[in-house]
């Protein structure tokens, strides 16, 4: 476990400086004459890389906690409807024109995430039952999705419509330190909350009844999950749009390297999620795509969907 953490930290420490050099303008560290190198590094690439690390860490940790909570390796933090809730908030900020003013977009998204969390807690919070909770999450996700489509179809201008569609694809390109300052503290707080839930998630390995017999309070656990996933995923969507599959893939890759208890997976998944998003973002910058760069959300879906399929096939073999 400590070895896994050390390895992931080393990989991030190695990948972060290298990632700064790659992009449309390649920076040669041994040639200090590159035009605008300092500006590109500190105002464009560093905040972008740090943001990828922050968002990736949040999604990784949220995925690990989510899979632990639902006791299902195919669970994804998107299931709770918090990501679509945040996205709906962001879409409304475009729709109303507020997105143009600095802090409004992430603020709207965070309000959307908080709204989804509150709705989730309201519908499912009383019983603490997992099935009702999941269904409530799916309902919220589909409601937010429908409202987003409505907002897109009723866009006041074609320009707003295209902005919404592009933003929804998820990216950390063209972000500044402002987004980092918004996302980092919220994500850190969210991961801390999820770590607190770790022991209860371990107990849940034995099922609902056995977990309760071990002293787990299902309502407290549910509240911690809503808060932790709300903070990590809400902050991630607020600054980077919807980025799927990280929360699904990462815990999977990490699980075999640990003792497989949910609590052992949360922190390594945060680190691995950070690393994955950083690398995927470099890939997006480097790959030649007509008309600009590949969107991070699309790139991860392109990697994630075959991964998900492979996982399903392996599970099917296991069942057969």
């Amino acid at each position: 476990m400590t070895r896994v953490l050390a390895l992931l930290c080393a990989a991030i420490a190695f990948a972060l400086p290298l990632s700064l050099l790659a992009g449309r303008v390649w920076i040669d560290p041994f040639d200090p004459q590159t035009h605008n190198a300092a500006l590109i590094l500190f105002e464009l690439r560093l905040p972008r890389a740090v943001l990828a690390l922050v968002v990736g860490a949040g999604l990784g940790a949220a995925g690990a906690a989510m899979q632990g909570y639902l006791r299902n390796p195919l669970a994804d933090p998107g299931l709770f409807g918090i990501a679509p809730g945040a996205a709906l908030g962001a879409v409304l900020s475009f729709w109303t024109g507020w997105a143009a003013t600095g802090w409004a977009l992430p603020l709207f998204a965070l309000i959307g995430a908080a709204g989804a969390m509150a709705l989730l807690a309201l519908i499912a919070g009383r019983s603490g039952g997992i099935a009702l909770f999941t269904l409530a999450g799916l309902m919220i996700a589909s409601l937010a999705g429908a409202l987003m489509s409505l907002a897109i179809s009723l866009s006041p201008t074609p320009f707003a419509m295209s902005e919404i569609v592009v933003w929804l694809m998820g990216a950390v390109a063209d972000r500044s330190w402002r987004e980092v300052w918004i996302a980092a503290p919220l994500t850190a707080a969210g991961i801390a909350v999820l770590i607190t839930a770790g022991r209860s998630l371990d107990a849940l390995t034995l099922g609902d009844m056995a977990a309760r017999s071990l002293g787990v309070d299902p309502r407290r656990l549910q509240a911690l999950l809503i808060l932790g996933i709300g903070l990590t995923v809400g902050a991630g969507v607020a600054v980077a749009g919807i980025i799927g599959f990280v929360g699904l893939i990462v815990p999977h890759l990490i699980r075999p390297l640990t003792d497989r208890r949910p609590s052992s997976i949360i922190v390594p998944s945060a680190l691995a999620g950070a690393l994955l998003l950083l690398l995927a973002d470099v890939l997006c910058r480097v790959l030649p795509v007509a008309g600009g760069e590949l969107r991070l959300g699309i790139a991860l879906s392109l990697i994630g969907a075959p991964f998900f399929l492979a996982l399903l096939l392996r599970m099917r073999r296991g069942l057969a």
């Binding site: 006791r71 371990d202 009844m209 017999s213 071990l214 003792d259």
Partner: protein
Amino acid sequence: MTLYAQNLSLAGRLDAVTAELRPGEVTAICGPNGAGKSSLLSSLAGLLAPTSGSVLLGGAPLADMPAQNRARAIGYLPQVPELAWDVTVETLVSLGRLPWRDAPAPETQRAIDQALAALDLADLRRRPVSKLSGGERARALMARVLATQPRWLLADEPLANLDLAHGAALARHFRRCAGEGAGVVLVLHDLATAMNHADRVLVLSSGRLVADGPPAQALAETVIEEVWRVRARWLGEQGAHALAIG
């Protein structure tokens, strides 16, 4: 410290069950399918809120007890144990220490080692649960409950998947726990096991407690005929009874 079911009712499942369970005894709960055995056990473990009546542990209502204290006092093995992740036997057993999360590490390790040894699992401790046989898995799940070292051991059909030798060994272990002052409450389907290993038997029928006493009395042939609606005859002698049906 007694565990007392006081006029316990649970909509459609239990009907005014009153029984005072004593530490140092092995109590078996028997009854036909759907009689309310598992419901009674979960209620005694504080996991089902009764519609009326209450469960008292040492005179205090279980429902008002902090969850961690209750978890330390009462270990519970569900009838259909689940296991979401393919952990090793030792990690599984270590989950039983969750209520004692503040205990010093050597104490925790000692409890885990004792639980593994009690169920003959020491050699399998590093094996993933997916590589265990059904019986080994059942023992590992029971060892998880033992690792908590609770004053009350509540287990729903703990012997169901075990072979003769391991079943007898676990029954001996329950007897040893009772000898050391723990209370043991087992839901048992097999009446001969209850007859041979319990000090006291509660017989449930349609949610009502219809017999309560030493096995020979609570599981008398007349009771079996009335509750299970089969004619049965006890064979054998003290500690080695078998039930002949028909």
